[in-house]
């Protein structure tokens, strides 16, 4: 008995020994690329969840109706051309010769099905709000589709960039639940295996219409702890990782085998100020906060330059950005004077935050604001609680909070409208003059006219300070040196755009 268990131990030890030698080198092959994500994809049905980890995976399985090129311009993908019949009616020409992974051709019926599916309340899609301006879609010919919007909708194409085309016949046949687990698309990769919560494995679609995908097999692994993701990269366990902080980027840079891939995104780092409750109801207090913030110190010392200072609550990557509007400069003396003038010295501002926001930035801001005579209390809560309070009644929403906002549409309409338009759940601010400008800008198609409205809107925001633009956020990835890839402002993770260095 003793002898037998002893032998088992020896065998086990031998197995572990060989495995440990074989393990870390597994990722070195060029056929296999391993990507570490903080979370697993919630769904692979592209019409359900829209969170970074989910779409990082499923957008490689599907094609979109239109897409953005490297410069951010909207260009054809499944739609080859489109014309506005009127302000609300658009005709699309659908690409011929595209096939889904199951071999069936992609037809205009699939496009119409995809549009109708995502706007159908019965699907319970959280993405409905991005597409609900679409009133209807119908097939008008062997290769044409007509789409009608409820009103003139300038951000339509920015939203259609995110519309994945799914196969009608397959979805009808297998049902929503199986489609979510075993999705079939027309994209450069097909799903090979999905071990939920563990890893999703994609393999190349060799008959892809745009050409041969750069990698044979891609594994998306779930690695929640960022320190572990960095370790995976250093040991060759992973080839690309997402979601690094600027400080971790420095760690990666020290490693000669690795590179940091960073890009300014359409995500805006901003500070929210509650104009409807607490000491920040006084505009002088809000301006004092704006004068108290030293953006340069935050960007240089804490973000290591992975951030670009902005004066408005919008990034240059968004339509509607007006770069000649200047915010309130860093001026602690002026801030102190304003606090005194408002009689707010020593008043307590609550600073709501969650682990989703960089604690270092929050603490640095706290000190900057305290240094001009206000008191700042940080309250950290988990993300759902934070959202509930931030979107709740003005008196629960705290005086200050950080935001890292991206509408994934690169348009001011997706940023300052939900953030500051009265009646929006995020807005703790109401100003009819501002409402008039942003309402007008979302109902006309002419970009020049829209910019005029946005300029006025940003001037109002600057004077009233319901929010302070801090910096344009960077997406930071790290990868092996042999991989070439230029990440884009919309945080898309298209494997097809990557390649091995020759």
């Amino acid at each position: 008995m003793l002898l037998r268990s002893f032998r088992t131990v020896i065998l086990l030890a031998a197995a572990l020994g060989t495995a440990s030698l074989a393990g870390p080198v597994a990722a070195q092959s060029r056929d296999l690329v391993t990507v570490d994500l903080p979370n697993d994809a919630a769904t692979l049905d592209p019409h359900l969840q829209w969170d970074t980890d989910s779409y990082t995976v499923y957008r490689n399985i599907f094609d979109n109706l239109v897409t953005r090129d490297a410069s951010g311009t909207i260009v054809p993908q499944i739609a080859t051309a489109w014309t506005y019949v009127s302000d609300t009616v658009i005709d699309f020409t659908i690409r011929q010769g595209v096939t889904f992974h199951d071999g069936t051709p992609l037809t205009p019926e699939d496009v119409v099905f995809s549009i109708r599916r995502i706007i159908d309340p019965a699907l319970r899609s959280p993405q409905l709000s991005q597409f609900d301006q679409i009133a209807s879609a119908e097939v008008t010919g062997p290769a044409t589709v007509r789409m009608v919007t409820k009103s003139p909708y300038p951000a339509l194409f920015a939203q259609l960039v995110k519309l994945s085309i799914v196969p009608k016949a397959y979805v009808d046949k297998v049902g929503a639940q199986k489609f979510n687990l075993e999705p079939v698309g027309s994209g450069p990769f097909r799903l090979k295996q999905w071990q939920k919560g563990i890893a999703a494995t994609l393999e190349a679609n060799d008959t892809y219409w745009r050409g041969k995908p750069p990698f044979r097999t891609v594994v998306f692994r779930v690695v929640p702890d960022v320190a572990t993701r960095v370790a995976d990269l250093q040991t060759g366990k992973a080839d690309i990782v997402r979601g690094l902080s600027p400080d971790e980027a420095l760690t990666v840079k020290k490693d000669a085998k690795l590179q940091v891939l960073a890009v300014p995104t359409e995500r805006i780092g901003y500070m929210f100020l509650n104009t409807q409750a607490g000491p920040t109801q006084d505009v002088r207090v809000r301006r004092a906060v704006a004068h108290a913030i030293d953006r340069t110190a935050i960007i240089e010392a804490l973000l290591q330059g992975y951030g670009k200072a902005v004066d408005v609550v919008l990034t240059p990557a968004n339509f509607g950005f007006v770069d000649d509007i200047k915010g309130w400069p860093y001026d602690p003396a002026r801030a102190k004077a304003l606090v005194a003038e408002a009689g707010a010295a020593g008043q307590k501002l609550t600073f709501l935050t969650s682990p989703a926001y960089d604690r270092r930035v929050v603490e640095a801001l706290q000190q900057m604001i305290q240094d001009v005579g206000l008191k700042v209390e940080i309250q950290t809560m988990d993300q759902p609680t934070f959202l509930r309070r931030r979107q709740g009644r003005p008196d629960e929403a705290g005086s200050l909070s950080l935001g890292r906002w991206s509408c994934a549409c690169q348009d001011a309409d997706g940023v300052i409208f939900p953030l500051f338009r009265s009646g929006s759940i995020w807005a703790k601010y109401a100003n009819p003059a501002f409402d008039k400008e942003v309402d007008a800008a979302r109902a006309i198609l002419d970009p020049k006219q829209r910019l005029v409205h946005y300029r006025k809107a940003f001037e109002i925001l600057r004077d009233e300070v319901p929010g302070i633009g801090l910096y344009q956020d960077f997406a930071i990835y790290a990868a092996r040196k042999e991989i070439t890839w230029t990440p884009t402002a919309n945080e898309a993770f298209f494997l097809f755009d990557m390649a091995w260095k020759p």
């Binding site: 086990l12 197995a15 572990l16 495995a19 440990s20 074989a22 393990g23 870390p24 570490d36 979370n39 919630a42 769904t43 049905d45 359900l48 969840q49 829209w50 309340p121 319970r124 959280p126 993405q127 409905l128 709000s129 609900d132 929503a176 979510n180 687990l181 071990q195 939920k196 919560g197 563990i198 692994r221 779930v222 690695v223 929640p224 702890d225 320190a227 572990t228 370790a231 995976d232 250093q234 040991t235 366990k237 988990d382 993300q383 759902p384 609680t385 959202l387 509930r388 979107q391 906002w405 991206s406 509408c407 994934a408 997706g414 940023v415 409208f417 939900p418 009646g423 929006s424 759940i425």
Partner: protein, 307 residues
Amino acid sequence: MPRYLAGRLLQALIATFGVMTIVFVVMRLSGDPTLLLVPEGASREHIDALRRELGFDRPIFIQYLSYLGDLLRLDLGDSVVQRVPAVDILAARIPYTVALASAALLVALGIGIPVGIAMAVWRGRWFERPLAALVLAGQSLPTFLSGILLIMLFAVTLRWLPSSGADGPAAIIMPAVALGALSMSTFARMARIAIVDELSKDYVRAARARGLSVGGTVARHVLRNAAIPVVTVAALEIGNLLAGSVIVETVFAWPGIGQLAIQSIQSRDFLVVQAVVLFVSVVYTVTSLAADLVYAWIDPRIRLSPA
């Protein structure tokens, strides 16, 4: 005996019911996943509509009744985030948790028991306390720290072990050590007490009097008899291992139910959280019942009492 068993099972059922109620209420009080699901910029109408579609607008009591109804039909419900049955999500993780818990138990026993034996046999010697400190050290460092230190040393610097994941047998070593370290001292203490007990018994004294060596005596008789309390502690320790696995699995990206639990809480995926907690509480209840039964079966002097 059957009456005792029935009583214990009834108690277990009540406790499980209590667990489900507490977790249900606390989860609902903490908000719902709707706000996390919608993209930034969704309007109040969209959020309310989605909340209605997902059923979170109903009064908590109605939600509770409908949940209990499903539970009676052995239906744990669907994850609102992942849109698949919660039981499938849970089931995929169980093998990993069982593997990690077993390996961690092996580590804890493998180090704890020999140390406990040494402390018992040589009790009173100068190195008894340092030995105790050695096994106690394992539970004196937060696992999020010991975990990353292990990764830095054995994966990044020495390149002996993979830094994360669950592919291949080598990947389990570090998480098992980090988790098992938490329980080493429990086993050392139990082993020590049990063996000191045994060593003071007449048969050992008699054996010694006959001139048998202490080592031989320990090996032949004492270990077997002292194994009983240790086995029961091992069963109870499983509950602690499951709790400890929350952080360990997060650090090592080990896809077990600890990681699942924390992710589901953070995403307010109620039905998955409830499924995980139900599973853990049933495992805990069953193992403690089994431990009691085994204990009573091996040692008939122990009376089974309903408490």
